[in-house]
Amino acid sequence: MRAIGTAIIVLFFALLFGVGSALYRVETLSSSPDFQVGPWQGSLHAGSQAADGLTRAVIARTAMLALNREEAIYYIASTDNDGRALSSSCRYSLTGGDMPARWWSITAYGPDYFLIPNVENRYSITQTDIQAAGEGEFLVELAADGVRRSPDSLVLSNGTGPGQTFSLLLRLYHPSQAVLAAPEGLAVPIISNLGCL
């Protein structure tokens, strides 16, 4: 009887630490990114049959059904350019220019990796939006209330409640050969904190 009790206790702690640490590792994206440029980072093995187990698990949890890099390359930012976690309590500006791909988009996601509800059902800024605005450079405001402060900006909602983390996903479809060869060389958008509540 005592031996069974001991076995149950050992199994309990093994499950707790073994499964718990695995889930924590995947949830905190602790697979080393293949490339990083400013706060934007990504994997060259998303969707790849050559991906290691941890990369597969992280991609399955955070970006399931990602395409391989020749089709699309993904950059994820969870912090601003000063390294502070992106928060729905803060306002941000996102500045940059057109990027060398057939088409690109930047989408905001909540802490559950799903689209953030907002009144205008506007979830992303795309190359099409930037080209329609007629400017080579773009300014995007990220604000929880979705209210535009600058006349020439586009605006995205970054949360539905105070203190929620969020992330930005930059997708480049059919990236240029230069980006494929050196994704860390891309001139990525700059994420600046404009103030917090």
Binding site: L15, G18, A22, A57, A60, E71, I116, N121, T126, Y173
Partner: protein
């Protein structure tokens, strides 16, 4: 060696094994959960379905793109190959991609590769359908995903019409 130390070593060894197993199993488990959710919504195997644009109210898979129209086919090649076919596709970015049960992206066909030609390809299981199919799935079941870029709302009717002509069905 004390009994406590021996038990601790067993516990640590088990925990390391479970850690590795959990990470290895996670893609298949998450894919199975997504597939089960889709089946709960009425999807059946080897049939293409065409949900509306992704919004905060309509999303099943993490980090969906709100700028793409997705059509999905849960495939099962246990009984034999399946065929993916299209009519002439609209002039926009589109891709048809296959994802195995462990989430590996094992093939992609896009508008550049297809040119102006309709797609007509077969998919079978590795080992089970040697040579007679265009692509081999590493697993018996998985997902086929059609992505179509919606640059503006005006293009939506043409995209809708084209994607409803995309077939995913058993060959026999």
């Amino acid at each position: 060696m004390t009994r406590f130390l021996r038990l601790s070593l067993i516990c640590v060894s088990l925990a390391v094994g479970l850690h590795v197993l959990t990470i290895a199993a996670m893609p298949r488990v998450l894919m199975a959960i997504a597939s089960a959710r889709m089946q709960e919504q009425g999807m059946v195997f080897n049939e293409m379905v065409h949900p509306g644009p992704r919004t905060a109210e309509e999303q099943t898979i993490v980090r969906p793109s709100p700028d793409l129209l997705y059509s999905v086919c849960l495939y099962d090649v246990t009984a034999g190959p399946i065929r993916i076919s299209t009519s002439t596709m609209p002039d926009t970015y589109w891709s048809i991609s296959g994802f195995a049960a462990n989430t590996d992206n094992f093939f992609v066909i896009n508008d550049v590769m297809a040119g102006s030609e309709p797609v007509d390809v077969t998919i079978g299981r590795i080992g089970a359908d040697p040579g007679d199919v265009d692509y081999h799935s590493p697993s018996a079941r998985g997902m086929i995903l059609l992505r179509m870029l919606m640059k503006d709302a005006d293009a939506l009717p043409a995209l809708e019409e084209a994607r409803r002509m995309v077939g995913c069905e058993a060959v026999n």
